[in-house]
Amino acid sequence: MRHIISILLENESGALSRVAGLFSARAYNIESLTVAPTEDPSLSRMTLVTSGSAEIIEQITKQLNKLIDVVKLNDLNVSHVQHLEREMMLIKVKAPVSARDEIMRLSGIFRGNIIDVTDDAYTVELTGTSDKLNAFIASFDCDSILETVRSGVMGIARGSSALHL
């Protein structure tokens, strides 16, 4: 099963490589991983998407907790937690005159923003669940996509419960 794990870790050099190293050393999956400092500059917030059986996910969270740089973590895919997740994508597509209306229409439907326009290409910014981004990509002909860049998933629990110190 797919799990989103939110991690607060010390904002120190090497902290990211400890997490990445753990996953490769123990042959766990990483689907996506995103990390940036929080409002407290001494802490980074990481969102890690992985998959595995319940036993493997339990080991993953235990092994992550064992890393000295990990201050705190939450598995967002457990029964008592409801969560929100978002991923951001920038997608650059070919935009010949004949296609421009359709790109704008699709962007509208998916609530994307066109953030760069040139003679032959548009860049669309889109935020949502991974499924939504996939659906947007699928609505284009492969040949017309010049480039995509995705942030990886960010997750947060619903309500007032929060991952903080």
Partner: protein
């Protein structure tokens, strides 16, 4: 007090009461060595190879329970130390390894003797640090000692660039008594509800067995384990790493379990209904084929490391906590319960079942699975170990290398006290024995220390004979020389139709002359009848290192054996022709 980085290190080690620093100088640590020489703080032991520095610090730590400390230079100094660091990591030994590094200004430029020490050591340390500023040095060292020695212990590497130890940059220093880390708060106390639940299950068990490991030794829980096991009257078996925590000579002890464990221990594991795992980690050498591991058992697991629990085997009642703390709580609960005043064994609510269980175990014991033919002319390695026990009255500190001699020592020495059996269990590092023995001997100057080894393993760190001479370490080296890499040969005999690919050692040195060339005493023994006298003679030389080269039976095998992929009950015992 205003000190340079190098002086801070020297002063810090003194303030932490570090007794010995095992090390080897080099370019990146010259400032540190200069400060050490002038500070007269810790005693520095100059090894002959950095791997030995980490093994010696490790041996010191295993035999004392204190943190072992090593100092090596950057680049090859650090990479040589890695095997010792990984050895300590796999067996959860508290170690602080200080590694020199090129100056911060040139890190990343492929400078002379530069390696990414933090990157290389990351997968085999509990934690590591790169100190980029002398202002962080004292606090980082404090953190390193704290992390290494608390929770589930382990090695910590502190990488120190040369400019951080610059003698011309002095900053105020004062020793911190303790340190808090927001991201590191190891659990110590077990959950009371879980402990109670476990005890209830234990008291209702019909065929219980204790399975104890290195965690008991690390937690100094030997006394509480002995009380609990004796009060309950349950059988107990131990892993390779846990030997000595419970006395081998006690009637309730079934011997070691696992691949080369005793028949009775492995059969009891297979048939048990309540398994009490204490400070053990269900290693593959213990469990055998996982599907067939303890098929009928409810499993209680006490361990300080949550990630050890249900890692390979799902357990029914996990207790995360310090082993000694949990066992002590169990003892208190037992005291409070009504039945505690009755005779031994009756704590179990089903005394008759326990009696039947012991009856069954006695049947298994009758197999006498460690029997071997003692009347051969050529020397049996088992016989040497048994005689070693006799001559040292079972009171020696014994280190070993890795292979058949290690298993024979575990099976036949009979350890009665914890921290006496010093071996590389998890990583299985050949070359560990001699340098580890140096650390043990330094920690226990007036005690008997022996290193049981083989002609393969001993040559992996033979250069340390020089260190032993320099510091007058009267270690006794028991070399079980069968002219084969014995364990490799055994596997080739069993699983490769006797094709001995590269397991035969040619050009073996004359160990007597070799020992003598370093200034030690060498002996060679090739008759069974001479074994005892030779050992007596060697151990009578209290102030000398004696290297005894025992020419042993060439194709001796370690039995019993559970082949890879087999269940615990599918042991192979020594063929009858071997027995008398």
């Amino acid at each position: 007090m205003e000190l340079s980085g190098a002086e801070i290190i020297a002063q810090f080690l003194k303030d932490e009461d570090v007794e010995y620093l095992f090390g080897y100088p080099g370019g990146a640590v010259l400032h540190i060595y200069d400060a050490l020489l002038r500070a007269d703080s810790v005693k520095h032991i100059l090894v002959r190879h950095e791997q030995a520095a980490t093994h010696a610090a490790d041996g010191y730590a295993r035999s004392t329970g204190r943190t072992g400390v090593a100092l090596v230079t950057s680049g090859p100094g650090m990479t040589n130390a890695v095997t010792g660091i990984a050895t300590a990591y796999l067996d959860s030994i508290p170690l602080v390894v200080l590694t020199g590094q090129v100056p911060t200004a040139v890190i990343g430029s492929d400078a002379f003797q530069e390696v990414d020490s933090v990157g290389i050591s990351r997968p085999c340390v509990k934690h590591n640090f790169l100190v980029k500023d002398v202002k962080d040095l004292a606090e980082t060292l404090k953190k390193a000692f704290y992390v290494a020695s608390t929770g589930r212990p382990g090695p910590v590497v502190v990488d120190i660039p040369k400019n951080v130890t610059d003698p011309n940059i002095k900053i105020p220093y004062s020793h911190m008594a303790s340190i808090d880390m927001r991201s590191y708060n190891p659990v110590t106390k077990g959950h009371p509800f879980q402990i109670k639940k476990a005890l209830e299950l234990m008291l209702n068990a019909k065929k219980p067995v204790f399975y104890t490991g290195g965690g008991v030794v690390l937690s100094n829980a030997s006394a509480s384990l002995r009380s609990l096991v004796q009060q309950l009257g349950f059988p107990i078996t131990s892993t390779l790493m846990g030997l000595g925590a419970y006395p081998s000579s006690d009637e309730q002890f079934l011997g070691m379990l696992g691949m080369h464990g005793t028949y009775e221990a492995n059969m009891a594991m297979h048939d048990t209904d309540v398994l009490i795992a204490v400070g053990a980690r269900f290693d593959d050498r213990v469990t055998g084929h996982l599907e067939q591991f303890c098929p009928d058992a409810k499993i209680i697991h006490i361990d300080i490391d949550p990630s050890s629990i249900s890692k390979t085997v799902q357990v029914d009642i996990p207790i995360v906590g310090d082993v000694d703390d949990v066992l002590t709580t169990m003892l208190e609960l037992l005291k409070g319960s009504d039945s505690s005043s009755e005779a031994k064994g009756s704590d179990s609510s089903d005394g008759q079942a326990l009696k039947d269980w012991w009856k069954q175990i006695k049947q298994w014991r009758k197999k006498n699975c460690l029997r071997y033919n003692k009347k051969t002319k050529s020397i049996k390695p088992q016989f040497v170990v048994e005689k070693l026990h006799e001559v040292t009255q079972g009171d020696a500190y014994i280190t070993s290398d890795v292979g058949q001699h290690q298993m024979f020592t575990a099976q036949y020495y009979g350890f009665d006290e914890p921290r006496r059996w010093i071996n590389s269990g998890g990583l299985g590092t050949m070359g560990f024995g001699l340098p580890a023995a140096m650390g043990v001997q330094l920690a226990h100057l007036d005690k008997t220390v022996a290193c049981v080894t083989g002609e393969g393993s001993i040559q992996m760190n033979i250069q340390e004979l020089a260190t032993c001479m320099q510091y007058q370490l009267p270690i006794k080296i028991i070399n079980l020389n069968n002219r084969y890499l014995g364990m490799v040969r055994q596997w080739q005999e069993f699983f490769y139709e006797g094709r001995y690919a590269m397991s035969y050692m040619d050009s073996i040195p004359d160990f007597v002359k070799l020992a003598e060339s370093y200034g030690h005493v060498g002996m060679q023994i090739d008759q069974t009848s001479d074994v005892e006298d030779a050992l007596k003679e060697a151990f009578a030389m209290k102030d000398k290192l004696v290297f005894i080269d025992f020419i042993t039976n060439r194709e001796e095998n370690v039995y019993p054996m559970i082949a890879t992929g087999k269940g615990q009950h599918e042991m192979e015992l020594a063929p009858d022709s071997e027995l008398v």
